[in-house]
Amino acid sequence: MTVTKRSLMLAPWIFTIGFFALWEIVCRVFGVSSFVLPAPSTILAAIWEYRSQLTYHAFFTLWMTLAGFGLAVVFGLLLGMMLGSSRLINAGTYPLLVGFNSIPKVAVVPILVFWFGVGWVPPVMTAFLISFFPIVVNVATGISTVEPEMEDVLRALGASKRDIVMKVGLPRAMPYFFGSLKVAITLAYVGSVIGEQNASNVGIGNLLTRASAAFEVPLVWAALVVLAILGVIMYAITAAIEQSMTGWAQRSQMAA
């Protein structure tokens, strides 16, 4: 069977709708209690019922995620450039970085609360801390893997380390960088929700905590669905930016 362009376009919709249809059918046929697993129709009704509340909190989640993500991009690029251009710094800081990345960020939230109190800072910081690592690693990899011949050509002309990073390393690292943004945006999102659940009075994460404490199961599910939809949208935007910024990388691979 050949896969046509049109069937590739339709596939995500068909699979998504099919998934929810199956879910709905299972719930109805087996009469699953909505306390255990509400049917999609019940969740949809809940989304509609709590729409103003959900919109209000989603807005906070959105900007906190984007703020943390923005910080991660700036910091990740800078640190990645440093690590990529110096083998010494790279070797020296790697264990620290990996160690730090291994700490579950939910465990860091209490510390953030000691420092900054409950509010918008812990979710933004959690989003930042959880999402900068893939950016650093990818930018550093892109810069440190410049072809030795290319480096020789430029160094023989008297190029400084900085020249090489700016002219070759950084542009070369862009496909890695944008690739890592897709990972980072979803991580930032997880980070801000964790932060909201533990140390904020706004945001979908906070709404989730309160709804589950009050056993408002449909609202919990509605919040989860809103989170998933927002996540898909943010991922899609990042992927589209990647596509438009580093088309050369995909085309040159197709030509090769």
Binding site: D152, V153, A156, L157, M174, W248, A255
Partner: protein
Amino acid sequence: MPAFVDIHDVTHVYARAEDGAPAVQGLDLRVQEGEFAAIVGPSGCGKSTLMKLATGLQFPKQGTVIVDGQQVGAPVKLAGMAFQNPTMLPWRTTLDNILLPLEIVEPHRSRLKRHKAEYVAKAQALLAQVGLRGQGEKFPWQLSGGMQQRASLCRALIHEPKLLMLDEPFGALDAFTREELWCVIRDLHAAQKFTVILVTHDLREATFLADRIFCMSARPGRIVAEREVSFPRPRDLEITYTPEFSAVVHDLRGHIAHARSAA
């Protein structure tokens, strides 16, 4: 007359070499200004080390390297380089790739913005010379391997280097394209009179292009034979089928075979 490139009794050990074995030892060679020199030898004989020494990317542990009357203690800046891998940057057009050295090397670096048109015209003239007229707006990945290698030659020559270093530049090309590029580099050398050091495995290539051929021994590399090639210029590809030409190639082959068996 002092030689343009004078490598005198050079021994070089890479800092990262674990056994501390030298890559080249007692290396001695002289190339006159405007001369086309070729260096042939078995693989791993330190030809690339020689390239790095002559361009100031590495400094010898012992001995001296003099280029253009000055002892090399920093990257020489008057050299253009091309390698087997054309290393074009895929996010730049071919033209912008060729202009890249001008963004690095003075005095062009500070002039480039204001005199862009002049430099672009120069790059286009070079492209025409290597048979890529009007291809500057294409991206490197839209060009064939041979065309990329031509563009890579343009990049090596855009800043009018006095010394052109070629490290097996045609090694990855098919035989016909390779011969075409021999003629391209032959004509560029005839027109611009720069000094060339060509590192190659291909003895016919060395014999066709060079005025002087150095044979290197296996690692640690040193020069085991030096011979002049006195075929008159301009040379036509036809000479590669003459008995005199074959005799030179055969003689070189003997030296390489000896160097390999000695290893």
